[in-house]
Symmetry: C2
Subunit: 82 residues, 2 copies
């Protein structure tokens, strides 16, 4: 089963990459950008085929390795599952 | 208008972050993971409200700053637009 994890900096947490993108876009003449935030996109392919189990497994992976729960939030999307 | 850009390493391009995630998950006992790829998630808020114009604008931003077209591909998702 394929899964996508979207990892975002939590609101209020410093986002230096997002600020760099916003500043850089301004320097290039893209002035109509209000905000920019940069996070990570993690795409996994799992042996697990049960959506509920896959979701629980990925949440454990996120808590232990993929995301830093102090400063990041994550969202799990499973292919073919809402 | 809010937009999300998904930046992924192109197929066949070295993905050291993805390899690190895969190896790290194995060390933690998560053995049912076949592949792992790590890209970037860029969330933008634009003044532009026309979807077609916003898409063209973001594509220009990606080509010039957000993605490295040599090694990365990008996908643009506009909020409320398929």
């Amino acid at each position: 089963m394929k899964a996508t994890v979207l990892v975002r900096p939590k609101a209020g947490i410093l986002d230096p990459q997002g600020n760099a993108v916003l500043t850089g876009l301004g320097h290039l003449g893209f002035n109509g950008v209000r905000t920019a935030h940069v996070g990570r996109l993690v795409e996994l392919e799992l042996d697990e085929t049960d959506p509920a189990k896959a979701r629980a497994l990925i949440a454990a992976m996120c808590d232990q390795l993929i995301a830093n729960p102090l400063i990041e939030s994550y969202e799990i999307e499973l292919e073919g599952d809402a």
